[in-house]
């Protein structure tokens, strides 16, 4: 190329410089506005609602709350249920991990599928399924009464039901993170223990589990967080006598006692923050790995002791039944004629009628459409924000970008109910922050809340992917004449594409399964799937119940496809950090 063409190209690229600057500042302004309007203003409003009345600080709300007997009991229920859940989930989860990664058990492949179901069968969908299968007219209850005619049909109820549901549905953190951690343990340490006389099981308890103790703590804290903020389980299964904190917040909000709702939401937020800080602390201390130069990959050991071998097999397969039953029955009965639902143990015949009636009636189709449209809206906007913020964070380290980064991670710590209460309190009247509009009761409030929920996850994963791209690739493109936009579109974007697809899919999965924020914020115009499923779940009418099963099956299928996609794209193999 002659010097003249170099010169010409240089001249041609000059005029768009001011345009680039403008685009950058416009993007930055949008981002800042979104952070202030949808994060700090709602948070500030919650704080002032909880502690200010008529211009002065008040502790009156605290006193009122402390005096309310139902609040005290909900607090107590929440705390002991969260504690009990951590214990039971650890028992179930550790056993699963042992069966899948440490001990040779027949049919481990099939067991793994069953143990993985909480990944696709979670939140309100799973609670609905449990209620359907174990509830007073459920298939399992039906079956049990044939053996024990005198039993109480309504056994799956109250705290027992909530604890059972928690114990088996919150093991997915163990399944994801603890398995990954155990796979990184050097098998030579197990062999060393055995050469010193330890049985395989005692090697597991004395060597392997202590090595992964930080991960066990971390997943326990994640379980604690989920249990503390549980809403669908107590709402659907808890009944009148067992209520938890999130229900209380929702109840207070609906009776317009928003100062008290705000205070309880803040309390939940404070607890979450403490748990989160604990997680960070554990993550920083997690230094057990990397001791050996040539670690031997984890291998499964055969239990030579017949008794313990038999025990492990029996428990493993009992767990299989527990995990598979609700999923199988939910899917099976979604194809059953409605007269068969709630009366038969197995469907009398299979039909597509339920699906046809759900997908053809405007009223039942709407929640599906609403959830999809609102999730896609939230994801599209957050994707743009995350790309912009990710680039900002990756390219420059200044106080300003530090503030942006920190702000975008705040929702990670916030309980969903606090996000919801914040939006309600801040925007229940025309506000200058959103140009004189009202959000409460509007369609937009749901996609906005959804966006807040997925921001931390998307920014974090996309930001990490951006940092992971070799900067010399962009340098290479630049040395070949590519300007910033060309570099972004031709080099960065194609390299990011798999991550963007994956992250969007995961966010979509989260949002179609979302229940808490939806339950607080929905209105007749934008009733989402989670709320619709929960509404159908408690119905006694087989026709309505059938629709709930169809929804649950559809959501499960979507989740399944997304999780498989994530696994294909390598998320399952990459070392996953807990926080």
């Amino acid at each position: 190329m002659t010097d003249l063409t170099v010169l010409a190209r240089a001249e041609l690229t000059r005029p768009d410089l001011p345009y680039r600057k403008f685009a950058f500042w416009a993007g930055f302004a949008m981002l800042s506005w979104a952070i202030v309007a949808f994060l700090y203003v709602p948070l500030g409003t919650v704080l002032s609602a909880a502690f200010y009345r008529e211009g002065s600080v008040t502790t009156e709300t605290i006193a009122r709350l402390a005096g309310a007997r139902n609040v005290r009991s909900a607090l107590w229920n929440t705390f002991w249920m969260a504690g009990a859940t951590v214990i039971t989930v650890n028992i179930v989860g550790l056993f699963q991990v042992m069966v899948l990664e440490f001990v040779k058990v027949r049919g481990a492949g099939i067991l793994k599928i069953a143990y993985a179901t909480p990944l696709v069968f979670g939140s309100v969908t799973a609670i609905t399924g449990y209620n359907f299968v174990y509830g007073d007219s459920g298939a399992v209850t039906e079956l049990l009464t044939r053996f024990f005619p005198g039993m109480n049909r309504d056994w799956f109820h109250g705290w027992v039901a909530v604890l059972i549901a928690h114990s088996f549905l919150m093991t997915h953190y163990h399944f994801l993170f603890l398995r990954a951690a155990i796979r990184r343990v050097d098998f030579a340490t197990v062999e060393a223990a055995r050469s010193l006389g330890a049985s395989p099981i005692s090697a597991l308890f004395k060597v392997v589990l202590p090595v992964v103790r930080p991960t066990i703590f971390a997943v326990s804290l994640l379980v604690l967080l989920s249990a503390l903020t549980s809403l669908a389980a107590p709402a659907i299964l808890g009944g009148r006598e067992f209520r938890m904190l999130n229900q209380m917040i929702m109840g207070l909000n609906s009776v317009r006692r928003q100062d008290m709702a705000a205070l309880l939401a803040l309390l939940l937020g404070l607890i979450s923050l403490i748990v989160f800080l604990g997680l960070r602390w554990i993550e920083r201390r997690q230094t057990y790995f990397g001791g050996a130069k040539t670690p031997i990959p984890m291998q499964k050991v055969v239990l030579k002791n017949r008794l313990s071998n038999a025990a492990v097999h029996i428990i493993a397969w009992v767990l299989f039944v527990i995990y598979a039953t609700p999923v199988v029955f939910t899917i099976l009965f979604s194809f059953a004629p409605s007269r068969s639902i709630a009366t038969d143990v197995l469907p009398s015949s299979l039909t597509l009628d339920n699906y046809i009636s759900v997908l053809t009636a405007q009223q039942t189709l709407e929640p599906l459409v609403n959830s999809t449209v609102m999730s896609v809206m939230a994801i599209a906007v957050v994707l743009c924000l995350a790309l912009f913020a990710g680039r900002l964070i990756a390219k420059s380290k200044s106080l300003l970008t530090g503030v942006v980064e920190f702000s975008l991670f705040i929702p990670w710590v916030l309980p969903s109910s606090l996000v919801a209460i914040g939006l309600i309190l801040a925007y229940d009247a025309p506000s200058p922050w959103i140009f004189g509009n009202v959000l409460l009761g509007s369609y937009a409030i749901m996609p906005i809340a959804y966006g807040i929920l997925i921001v931390p996850m998307m920014v974090r994963l996309i930001g990490a992917a951006m940092v992971g791209i070799d900067p010399s690739l962009e340098d290479a493109a630049q040395s070949l004449g590519a300007g910033p936009l060309t570099r972004f579109l031709r080099v960065t974007m194609p390299l990011l594409a798999p991550v963007l697809i994956l992250v969007s899919a995961l966010a979509f999965n989260d949002l179609v399964n979302e229940y808490t924020v939806s339950a607080f914020l929905y209105n007749p115009n934008n009733k989402p799937l989670g709320v619709a499923i929960a509404g159908f779940a408690v119905s006694n009418d087989p026709e309505t119940l059938a629709k709930g099963l169809v929804y649950a099956t559809l959501v499960m299928s979507v989740s399944f496809v997304i999780i498989m996609l994530a696994d294909k794209l390598g998320l399952g193999r990459a070392p996953i950090s807990v926080v």
């Binding site: 010097d3 170099v6 190209r9 690229t13 340098d475 040395s479 070949l480 194609p494 390299l495």
Partner: protein, 332 residues
């Protein structure tokens, strides 16, 4: 061809390069050599435009490019890890610059094909970079860097992730391409053997400054500083000796192993030492003798057919005074 004038580079408050001037001639293979952290890569990136100097100017072919963005400088760059775009095929990697320049389809096809043919990777055109060997990747990186017709090629330690055997072959190949196409090449390395083997001229750098510029022969035969003397080739430090300390001033004296001769030689211009043998290192045709004279260790090189010595023996050696490199004590 490439004129660097009084270049200073600072990051924040730290100045990593101060007032550096350098001149690379047309069609020259010019190497920046130095230990890691000496600023050689910073200097290369200043030429390519990825680093903006805080003061000073860069001229290429007489044109001031100091204020130009890298994409506007018309320079070919081969990166340390090649930086091949992993999502594009070999063909598309090489075609990238042409596509950005909106060259028409037919011309892209013929120019890329031509480049791939010339560099011997035509049969891999449809492969992704990950499917290529290290040597093939390097060829693609060079082809990509030169597709826009750049007359200047910058290479940042391109051989560092190849294994030892391939290194030498690829080194010769780079030299060959540069000569054949008459390119001006600026090459960064920390490997002195590589620098001596490939370069027309070498700039030895240390702490952000150029210590000496010269042909490989000049640098080896007459290093102007103790740093260059010990960085290039093997050297031994000599114990103090009245012959090279005429007025008693402290100096540092260095000598190359091949200039330490076995046996005593009398006469003007020679000094004799009587060190003891620490160990012998057999290297095939030649044998190295590691000797100890007082506090200093001295390496001599001799043909392997010399009589065997036993460790601990006194081995008299002689050194021609003209072969001793002397530097004042204070000089770095």
């Amino acid at each position: 061809m490439i004129d660097l004038e009084r270049i200073s580079v600072s990051y924040g408050d730290t100045t990593v390069m101060h007032d550096l001037s350098l001149d690379v001639r047309e069609s020259e293979f010019f190497t920046l050599l130095g230990p890691s952290g000496c600023g050689k890569t910073t200097l290369l990136r200043t030429i390519s435009g990825f680093v903006t100097p805080s003061s000073g100017s860069v001229h290429i072919s007489g044109r001031d490019v100091t204020a130009l963005a890298p994409e506007d400088r018309g320079i070919g760059v081969v990166f340390q890890n090649y930086a091949l775009f992993p999502h594009l095929t070999v063909f598309e990697n090489v075609a990238f610059g042409l596509r950005v320049a909106r060259t028409n389809r037919a011309e892209i096809a013929s120019r890329v094909q031509d480049a791939l043919d010339r560099i011997g990777v035509a049969e891999h055109a449809a492969k992704k970079p990950a499917e290529l060997s290290g040597g093939q990747q390097q060829r693609v990186a060079i082809a990509r860097a030169l597709i826009l017709g750049a007359r200047v090629l910058l290479l940042d330690e391109p051989l560092s992730n190849l294994d030892a055997k391939l290194r030498e072959a690829m080194r010769d190949e780079i030299r060959d391409i540069q000569q054949r196409m008459g390119l001006t090449a600026v090459y960064v390395t920390h490997d002195q053997h590589e620098a001596l083997a490939i370069s027309d001229r070498v700039a030895v750098m240390e702490s952000g400054a150029v210590r000496q510029i010269g042909t490989p022969r000049e640098l080896y035969a007459s290093p102007t500083s103790a740093f260059v003397c010990s960085f290039i080739g093997d050297t031994s430090c000599l114990p103090p000796h009245p012959a090279f300390q005429p007025n008693g001033r402290a100096v540092r004296a260095f000598v190359r192993p091949e200039h330490v001769h076995l046996g005593v030689r009398d006469g003007d211009g020679w000094i004799n030492l009587e060190p003891t043998l620490e160990r012998m290192v057999y290297q095939g045709a030649r044998t190295r003798l590691v000797l100890r004279a007082g506090d200093t260790r001295l390496t001599a090189e001799a043909p392997s057919d010399q009589p065997e010595h036993v460790n601990g023996d006194t081995v008299p050696v002689s050194i021609r005074l003209a072969d001793v490199h002397l530097y004042p004590e204070a000089q770095p």
